[in-house]
Amino acid sequence: EAGVAQSPRYKIIEKRQSVAFWCNPISGHATLYWYQQILGQGPKLLIQFQNNGVVDDSQLPKDRFSAERLKGVDSTLKIQPAKLEDSAVYLCASNGGGYEQYFGPGTRLTVT
């Protein structure tokens, strides 16, 4: 079984630029999560999808962050415009109905 795929693995941008991250969850997993993990911190949930609907986006900075999962499969997270404090690892995870979340390798974003 293939795991959660994310791309790119690394991205360096200047502040005020835009960036997008892509995630392909494990096949058949209805629930998809995006997390932000700042160095030395635990993952912070940004948004949770159930199929193509948003379950929780209470911690998503909606003035600059957006996410979509149009066909209920893969998902894109976008930041526009980026700030220095957005430098972090962005993790995607999926869940197939059980308790366990399966995480991807993450995208390391550096904003200069």
């Binding site: 959660v4 999560y33 997390y35 030395g40 911190q41 635990g42 993952p43 912070k44 949930l45 949770q48 929780d56 993790l91 995870a93 869940n95 308790y99 366990e100 979340q101 399966y102 995480f103 991807g104 390798p105 993450g106």
Partner: protein
Amino acid sequence: SQKIEQNSEALNIQEGKTATLTCNYTNYSPAYLQWYRQDPGRGPVFLLLIRENEKEKRKERLKVTFDTTLKQSLFHITASQPADSATYLCALEEWAVFGKGTKLTVNP
């Protein structure tokens, strides 16, 4: 809001000893709590889940306890090995309020 704390940022132990990591939570009564392992440059990997009505859960050399009175979970690795060196995260339930993690280093 829910808050979860892992008391130690780092723990260094000698190979063969038992590592004990602590996770405390406040402002919540979770139905279950999870433990994950995270290696550098990788996403967290699920290890164990313990429910509120379970006192203890074991998996190979791993043991987790859950004390709802103390609002605390303890994570033990017995007969620790250098390969156990990683950051260990605890998380509240499915929507996963994560702690900051404890970086465990097992010295040979």
